[in-house]
Point group: C2
Chain length 379, copies 2
């Protein structure tokens, strides 16, 4: 079950099994918390009259995307073209590629996806528009184009009105393309610790977005879609009235990074994503060694933490390739060999991208196992 | 080709294609450099009369392991049990699990693997010995046990003679188990910048190892195998005369981390592992945005570097989930949209673990594509 292509490896988990029997390392999804997060964000979007287009880059699993759609999502975002294939194959046919891409191989993927899905894509260069327009015309498909504007992230997207106007004009030259509105995302403000600072930063970003919408309106160009926003600012983004849809990803999982910011007064997702690990060496006083290291948890946003409350004062102190070094309390004399822990990863997206499956549990039992079918699909 | 389970995604690369046509991000293997590394370490081991048991955790590909065996390797190391399955399936039947594990699920895997391979495993706790002994007896298989001694790493492995003696004695109680010798690895010294410091540190570690071998000899216990050593200290490890076999992993690839240490006078591997990336946004002055971020390169040992010499003064400055921010020289006014670069990853092992395939090239052409069939197999 861990990898369908390798015959012989025993399944990592069986339906109905107790958690302690799961073969570690395992990426664990607490279904109660997950479903609460799913419903919470959907309710928030409904309340504000904003469409919800969850970002599938966070989970890369069509099982999760199907549940997001069932909870009322208008479609999903993907960050890469190859990432979109398993979702289309699973019957999700409204996909926004919230990112730029370039080159004939990528353009061909966009055209192929557009045969089976309503596909919108981002551009920030006229050469991208022309390549898409020609390929779509040749294939007889239609693509929706959302130019990306940079509202503070300093990464992709145009910053000047004239550049935006040039992109919109360029789109209009291609009968195979349709201008759909704007992509406007500011990832840099999602993790601001203070909720008040996030509110202010989100308002500034939304104001920039609104200026671009108004500018296009002054040219007689309407924006049917204005898409952006993320987990950390979702509630504020919705309140601005600027975005027609928001695209949070991490809200279904949470992670240590998001868990560490202030959510005061906001709707706050629960931790649903964990890594099950087993202590496999206790030969040293003061430490316990577990079986999750760099290949089992992303450390770009900090080390994982041990789920509080169950295991005393164990602290994940260092990640080697396949080992995690846990520091034990100085008065802790227990031999913890074989003890299973749950870790909260520092950063959910790149952590989920390490695994082939979610082991889904409710309470103390395994309920299901879901493939991460877009794992590693980064083209 | 990117993932066999997802129908419809175009192949990432085709045999004979020019490099520029590879769909990025792609994990690229320079076959000339790879073969040179393969032969170089094998020659070194032969010259010193030491067996070579390359660590497959670095590459996780049976295609590479088969080439290591063809170059004279005595077998391979795996760090995890599930990791070993695709290698056994590919016909590699001499495998050392250079790590501890615990629990009935893991013990069952060891017993299953032992049905089809000569399997040795590590222990540092008597409970592990008893669990393996009972399960092996029940299954009617034989396991070779290499207790791990800690020679400075401070992670797994026993540190005291009495503990080692207890493990050896415990092994002798089980007819299904055979004491095979010692596992003695010091990862912490592999990346010491100064070659002289590495030589000294390797000598200290080998001396500790030799003391344990001598201690067991004083009990009348011979060590047929003393296995350890890594890429950074391989040449020094071989010279000590303490190890019967060495287990380097990264030598086939190199990475920025290993590339940054001093190799003066030693045999030095060449960079064979790269990540092909494409610049997909040039909307901002001073930066170019490429399509490789945290999901395409491990950053635990530092950011990747742009392959020198081809692209002027481009510097990989920051990794977002799916984006890399490249800083351009202040006088660089080129529009680099669509330009393909090769990156040297900071750390090869966890980077290779992100990809499903190696795109193998020679000169400027794709020659082959190899599956990373043990990718993500971390149980």
């Amino acid at each position: 079950m861990e990898d369908c292509s390798v015959a012989g490896i025993p399944a990592q988990a069986y339906w109905g099994d107790p958690l302690a029997s799961v073969s570690t390392p395992a990426l664990m999804l607490d279904l109660d918390a997950f479903e609460s997060n799913l419903a919470g964000m959907a309710a928030l979007a409904r309340r504000h009259g904003v469409a919800l287009r969850p970002h599938a880059k966070a989970h890369k699993s069509s099982e999760i995307a199907k549940r997001q759609m069932a909870a009322g999502a208008t479609g999903i975002c993907c960050q890469k073209l190859s990432e979109a294939y398993p979702f289309v194959a699973a019957g999700i046919t409204d996909i926004h590629i919230s990112n730029e891409f370039v080159g004939p191989r990528k353009v061909r993927m966009a055209v192929e996806l557009a045969r089976r899905a309503a596909l919108s894509v981002c551009v920030d260069h006229v050469a991208q528009v022309d390549a898409l327009g020609s390929a779509a015309a040749e294939a007889g498909v239609s693509l929706v184009i959302l130019p990306e504007i940079d509202i503070g992230q300093g990464r992709c997207g145009v910053t000047r009105f004239a550049e935006l106007a040039a992109l919109v004009e360029r789109v209009s030259r291609h009968a195979s393309l349709r201008f759909g509105g704007l992509q406007a995302y500011h990832g840099g403000i999602q993790h601001e610790a203070s909720a008040e600072q996030r509110r202010t930063a989100a308002a500034v970003a939304a104001e920039k977005t609104a200026q671009h919408v108004a500018y296009l309106a002054s040219l007689g160009v309407a924006c049917p879609v204005v898409t952006g926003g993320g987990t950390g600012t979702a509630e504020f983004d919705m309140q601005t009235g600027v975005y027609t849809e928001i695209q949070p990803g991490s809200y279904i999982f949470m992670d240590r990074h998001y868990g560490g910011i202030e959510w005061q007064g906001m709707w706050q997702p629960r931790h649903s994503l964990f890594i099950a690990t087993t202590i496999m060496s206790t030969a040293k006083p003061g430490i316990a060694v577990c079986d999750v290291g760099l290949k089992g948890v992303a450390v770009d946003s900090g080390l994982p933490i041990v789920q509080p409350g169950r295991h005393g004062a164990l602290q994940y102190a260092a990640a080697n390739d396949e080992h995690g070094i846990l520091r034990t309390a100085s008065d802790d004399r227990r031999d913890r060999l074989g003890e299973q822990l749950l870790l909260i990863p520092g950063h959910c997206d790149p952590t989920a991208n390490l695994y082939n499956q979610y082991v889904c549990f409710r309470g103390e039992r395994v309920e299901d196992v879901w493939d991460i079918d877009a794992r590693g699909l980064s083209q």
